[in-house]
C-alpha cells in the first residue's frame, strides 16, 4: 500500500479519490460545526437553567416561537443541503460517465472468488492494471449478488446475475491494494477478497505476456477457489477431497454408483448439480462460463495426478 491516508479515509490512489475526499471533508467539517453548536448549547442551557435541589416548580417563560430564529435554522441548512446535493451529484456523474478510451477488463464474480479477464486473453484471480490509464471493469455474476469495492480507489459497484454492471477508475499510484466483496454472498463472503496491483505500463505489459499462457492445474486449483471446498489431503470440506478421487467409485445421493472418469469430472465442473456425491450439499456453482477449454483440461489433469 502506497501513500498515506488520513484519519478518516484510506490513501487516495485513484484520480477520483482526491475529489471524493474534498466533498467528504466539506461535509465532515460542517457536521463538526453543527454538532458543536448543538452540544454546547444543550450543555450550556442545562447548566444555566438547572433546577436547584429541592426547589419547587415555578411558572417558566412561555417563549415558544421566534420567527427570525426559526427562519435561520430552516433556511441555512436548506441552502447547505442544496450545495451538498449538487456536489454529490456531480461526483456521481464522474463515477458513472466512463471515458471512451478506457481499457476493458471483464470481471466474473462467483461464490467466493474473483476472475479478471484481460483484453489480451490473460485470465487471473488478481486485478493487475497499468498506472495512469482509465480502466473499465465490465462485471457479471454467475450466482448471487456481489459487489466490488476498492477502498483506496473509492469505487464500488454491485454485481447482479444476468446483467452487466460496470465501474471505472484510473489508478495513479503504483502499489498493491485490497479488493473486497461488499454485498453479502453467503458462507465465505469475508474471504471473497483479492488484490489490486497497479504497475507501470511496461511492467503491466510484461505481466500480461507471462500470464497469457494457460497455467498449470495446480495454479488453477487455487485461482478458481477449488481449494476452498476440495482438499488434496483427504480432509472433508464442502465438497469431496481430490485425493485418490480419480478412478474411484463414488456413491451418489440418489443411490447410484458412479466411476470417476474424465467425463464425470468434466460434467461435475460444468454442471455440478447433475450428480451429487452422497453426503454433500448441492452448493457448487457452475464454471461453464469461467473456464476456457484449455483450463478445463489442465484442471482435470491436475485432479488425475492426485490419485496414487
Amino acid at each position: 500500500m502506497q501513500g498515506q491516508g488520513t484519519f478518516n479515509l484510506p490513501p487516495a490512489a485513484s484520480t477520483i479519490a482526491p475529489a471524493y475526499d474534498s466533498l467528504f471533508y466539506f461535509i465532515y467539517w460542517l457536521s463538526v460545526f453543527f454538532f458543536v453548536v448543538i452540544t454546547v448549547a444543550t450543555i450550556a442551557f442545562v447548566i444555566k437553567y438547572r433546577r436547584k435541589k429541592g426547589e419547587a416548580f415555578k411558572l417558566t417563560t412561555g417563549f415558544c416561537h421566534n420567527t427570525p430564529l426559526e427562519l435561520v435554522w430552516s433556511v441555512i441548512p436548506t441552502l447547505l443541503i442544496f450545495v451538498i446535493f449538487i456536489w454529490g451529484f456531480q461526483m456521481f456523474m464522474r463515477y458513472w460517465v466512463i471515458p471512451g478510451n478506457a481499457m476493458e477488463v471483464r470481471v466474473t464474480a462467483q461464490q467466493w472468488n474473483w476472475n479478471f479477464k484481460y483484453p489480451e486473453g490473460a485470465s487471473r484471480e488478481i486485478l493487475v492494471v497499468p498506472k495512469g490509464r482509465p480502466v473499465k471493469l465490465l462485471m457479471q455474476s454467475v450466482d448471487v449478488l456481489h459487489s466490488l469495492f476498492i477502498p483506496d480507489f473509492r469505487v464500488k459497484m454491485d454485481i447482479v446475475p444476468n446483467r452487466y454492471t460496470s465501474l471505472w477508475f484510473q489508478a495513479d499510484q503504483e502499489g498493491e491494494y485490497d479488493l473486497y466483496c461488499t454485498e453479502y454472498c453467503g458462507q465465505k463472503h469475508s474471504r471473497m477478497t483479492t488484490r489490486v496491483s497497479v504497475r507501470s505500463e511496461s511492467e503491466y505489459r510484461k505481466w500480461l505476456e507471462e500470464n497469457s499462457v494457460t497455467p498449470t492445474g495446480d495454479v488453477l486449483y487455487k485461482r478458481y477457489g477449488c481449494n476452498t471446498c476440495h482438499s488434496l489431503d483427504g480432509g472433508t470440506g464442502n465438497g469431496p477431497t481430490f485425493k485418490n478421487l480419480f478412478g474411484s467409485t463414488e456413491k451418489m445421493s440418489d443411490g447410484t454408483m458412479v466411476e470417476v472418469d474424465d467425463n464425470y469430472l468434466r460434467e461435475s465442473i460444468l454442471d455440478p448439480k447433475a450428480k451429487i456425491v452422497d453426503g454433500f450439499e448441492p452448493v457448487m456453482p457452475t464454471f461453464k462460463n469461467t473456464l476456457s477449454a484449455d483450463e478445463l483440461d489442465s484442471l482435470i489433469d491436475f485432479i488425475k495426478t492426485q490419485a496414487e
Binding site: F24, K58, I84, S147, D158, G186
Partner: protein
C-alpha cells in the same frame, strides 16, 4: 409486592387468566413490554457474541456459518421483534389512551389480538431458529435467499405474521386518536408523544402490507419457484430490493418517530418549559412520515438501478433532513430559560439529542450520491444506523421507560443507580459505535466474519478491538438497569401521582391508574406544555 388494599389495574382482577384475556390497554402494554425486552435480550446476546468474535482478526470461536447466522438473527430479532413494536406497542399502548383522557383504545379486542399475533410470529421465528436459522442477513436479499440452505421460509413467514401485529396496533391507534380524545382536546392540544405515535401508526398501516407481499413472494419463490426474483427465469433480483426497501425504509421511521415523540415530551416535562415550536414538531413528524415513503432507493444507489432514480432519491432524502434538523433545534431551544431537572429520564433525552444529531449528520454523507459509493455496505453505515436506531430509538425507549415507570408500576427506581447505568450506556455506546465510522470510511466492509490477511488488518483490528470493549461496557449498563428496575418492583419507594411535574392527563390520575384509567371524566383545561400558566399541583 403490592398492598391488596389498593385496587388498581395491576392488582385487580387477579389470576393468570385475567391477564391472558385482559382487554385493558395497560395490561396489554405490559405484556408487550415483557416480550419485547426478552427479544432485546436475545438480540443483545447475539450482538455481544458477534463483537467478541470480531475482537481480533481471524476466527476466534465462531465459525463462518455460525457468524453469518448470528448477524442475521441479531438484525432480524432487533428489527422485527424488538425495535418496531418497542415504543408503540409497549409504551404507546400504555400511555396513548391515558394521554388522551380515554378509558381504553378504540378496539380493545383487536389490541389483545395483536399481542397474540405477535406471540405467534415470535413462536414461528423461534421455530425457525431452532430448526437451524437463516444466514441471509435480515434483508433476505434474493437470489441468495432463494438458494441458501437455511430455514428461510419459516423465518420470513414469522416476520410476515409479525407484520399483522404491527398493522393491528397502528390501525387501533389511528382510530383512537381520531375518536377517543377527551372533551376539549383539539389536535393542537395533543401531547407530542401522541402526534409521533399517530404518524408512526399511519406508516405501519400503509407500509407493512408491502413487506407482507414481498415476503410472501419470496416464500413462493423458494417453495414453488415462480421466478419473480430469479434472473435465470427472467426475474429480477433488484426488484426484491425495491420491494423490500419500499417497506423497510418507512420502517426506519416506524422506529425513530416514536423515539422523537418520547423525547419531545421528556424534554418539555423535565425542563418544565413550554415546548418550542409545538406545531412544527408535530407537522415535521407527519412530513417525515410522508416523505419517508419516497426515499427507499437511497439504499440502492449502486445496486444497478438507473442513475436518474438515484438522483431523485438522493434529492428527496435530503429533504427529510430539514424537518429532522428543525426538531433538534426546537428541542435545544426548549431548554432555554427552563427549570431543568437532570434526572434519569432527562439524561436519556439529552443523550438522544446528542447521539441522534451524530446519526443524522452522518446520514448526510450517505445521502450524497458520490460519497455513498465508497461508504455503502461498510461499517460507516453500521455506525450510522446504530446511532439512529440505538442512540436514537433505544435511548429514547430507555428514557420513556424511566419516565413512565412510576406511572406504570407505582414505584420509583433507584435514581442513583439510574444515573450510574446511564453513564455506562452512554460511554459504552459511543465506544462501541463511534470508531466504527472511521472503521467504515477506511474501507472495512460489513457482514465480515474475518478481516485477517488484508493490508489494513492492523488498523481494522484496533478499531474492532475498541468497539468490542465498548460493547462489554454497554452490556454491563443494561445488566445494571435490569437489576434496579426489577428491584424497584419489590422495594421501590411508592411513586406519587405526578413525580416529574407533568401537565398531561396521565399524571392527573393515580399511580398506578385504576382499570378504567380515571375515577372522573377528564376534561381538557390547558395545553399539554403550558408550564407558563399552570403549576403541576393544579392539573
Amino acid at each position: 409486592m403490592y398492598g391488596s388494599s389498593e385496587k388498581n389495574y395491576l392488582t385487580y382482577p387477579t389470576g393468570v387468566k385475567s391477564w391472558l384475556f385482559t382487554l385493558d390497554h395497560k395490561r396489554i402494554g405490559i405484556m408487550y413490554l415483557v416480550l419485547i425486552l426478552l427479544a432485546f435480550a436475545a438480540g443483545g446476546f447475539f450482538a455481544l457474541t458477534l463483537r467478541l468474535e470480531l475482537f481480533r482478526s481471524g476466527e476466534q470461536f465462531l465459525d463462518q456459518d455460525t457468524y453469518n447466522k448470528f448477524f442475521t438473527l441479531h438484525g432480524a430479532i432487533m428489527v422485527f421483534l424488538f425495535i418496531i413494536p418497542s415504543i408503540p406497542a409497549a409504551l404507546g399502548n400504555f400511555c396513548l389512551p391515558l394521554m388522551l383522557g380515554a378509558k381504553d383504545v378504540a378496539f380493545p379486542r383487536l389490541n389483545l389480538a395483536s399481542w397474540y399475533v405477535y406471540v405467534l410470529g415470535a413462536a414461528i421465528t423461534l421455530y425457525s431458529v431452532a430448526m437451524g436459522a437463516v444466514d441471509t442477513g435480515w434483508t433476505f436479499y434474493s437470489p441468495y435467499s432463494t438458494q441458501s440452505g437455511g430455514e428461510v421460509i419459516s423465518m420470513t413467514f414469522g416476520v410476515f405474521v409479525l407484520g399483522f401485529s404491527s398493522i393491528f396496533t397502528g390501525l387501533n391507534f389511528i382510530v383512537t386518536v381520531h375518536k377517543m380524545r377527551a372533551p376539549g382536546m383539539t389536535w393542537y392540544n395533543l401531547p407530542l408523544f401522541v402526534w409521533g405515535t399517530y404518524a408512526t401508526a399511519v406508516i405501519q398501516v400503509l407500509a407493512t402490507p408491502v413487506l407482507g407481499i414481498t415476503l410472501l413472494l419470496l416464500i413462493l419463490e423458494r417453495a414453488v419457484g415462480i421466478g419473480i426474483f430469479d434472473p435465470a427465469m427472467g426475474g429480477d433480483p433488484v426488484l426484491f430490493q425495491h420491494f423490500f426497501w419500499f417497506y423497510s425504509h418507512p420502517a426506519v421511521y416506524i422506529m425513530i418517530l416514536p423515539g422523537m415523540a418520547i423525547v419531545s415530551d421528556l424534554i418539555a416535562v423535565h425542563s418544565h418549559k413550554k415546548i418550542f415550536g409545538y406545531k412544527l414538531i408535530a407537522y415535521s413528524s407527519v412530513a417525515i412520515a410522508l416523505l419517508g415513503f419516497l426515499v427507499w432507493g437511497h439504499h440502492m444507489f449502486i445496486s444497478g438501478q438507473s442513475e436518474f432514480s438515484s438522483m431523485v432519491f438522493s434529492f428527496i432524502t435530503f429533504f427529510i433532513g430539514i424537518p429532522t434538523g428543525i426538531k433538534i433545534f426546537n428541542w435545544v431551544t426548549t431548554l432555554y430559560k427552563g427549570q431543568i431537572s437532570l434526572n434519569t429520564p432527562m439524561l436519556y433525552a439529552l443523550a438522544f439529542i446528542i447521539l441522534f444529531t451524530i446519526g443524522g449528520l452522518t446520514g448526510v454523507f450517505l445521502g450524497a450520491l458520490g460519497l455513498d459509493v465508497h461508504l455503502h455496505d461498510t461499517y460507516f453505515v453500521v455506525a450510522h444506523f446504530h446511532y439512529v436506531m440505538m442512540g436514537g430509538t433505544v435511548i429514547a425507549f430507555l428514557g420513556g421507560i424511566h419516565h413512565w415507570w412510576p406511572k406504570i408500576f407505582g414505584r420509583m427506581y433507584s435514581e442513583l443507580w439510574g444515573r450510574i447505568a446511564f453513564v455506562f450506556i452512554f460511554v459504552g455506546f459511543n465506544m462501541t459505535f463511534f470508531n466504527q465510522f472511521m472503521l467504515g470510511s477506511q474501507g472495512m466492509p460489513r457482514r465480515y466474519h474475518d478481516y485477517s490477511g488484508f493490508y489494513k488488518t492492523d488498523l481494522f483490528e484496533r478499531y474492532h478491538g475498541f468497539s468490542s470493549f465498548g460493547a462489554l461496557i454497554l452490556g454491563v449498563g443494561f445488566a445494571i438497569i435490569t437489576i434496579y428496575l426489577i428491584a424497584s418492583l419489590f422495594n421501590g419507594k411508592k411513586a406519587s401521582d405526578n413525580p416529574w411535574g407533568g401537565l398531561t392527563f396521565e399524571w392527573a390520575t393515580t399511580s398506578p391508574p385504576p382499570t378504567e384509567n380515571f375515577s372522573y371524566e377528564p376534561v381538557l383545561k390547558h395545553g399539554p406544555y403550558d408550564f407558563d400558566k399552570v403549576l403541576p399541583e393544579d392539573i
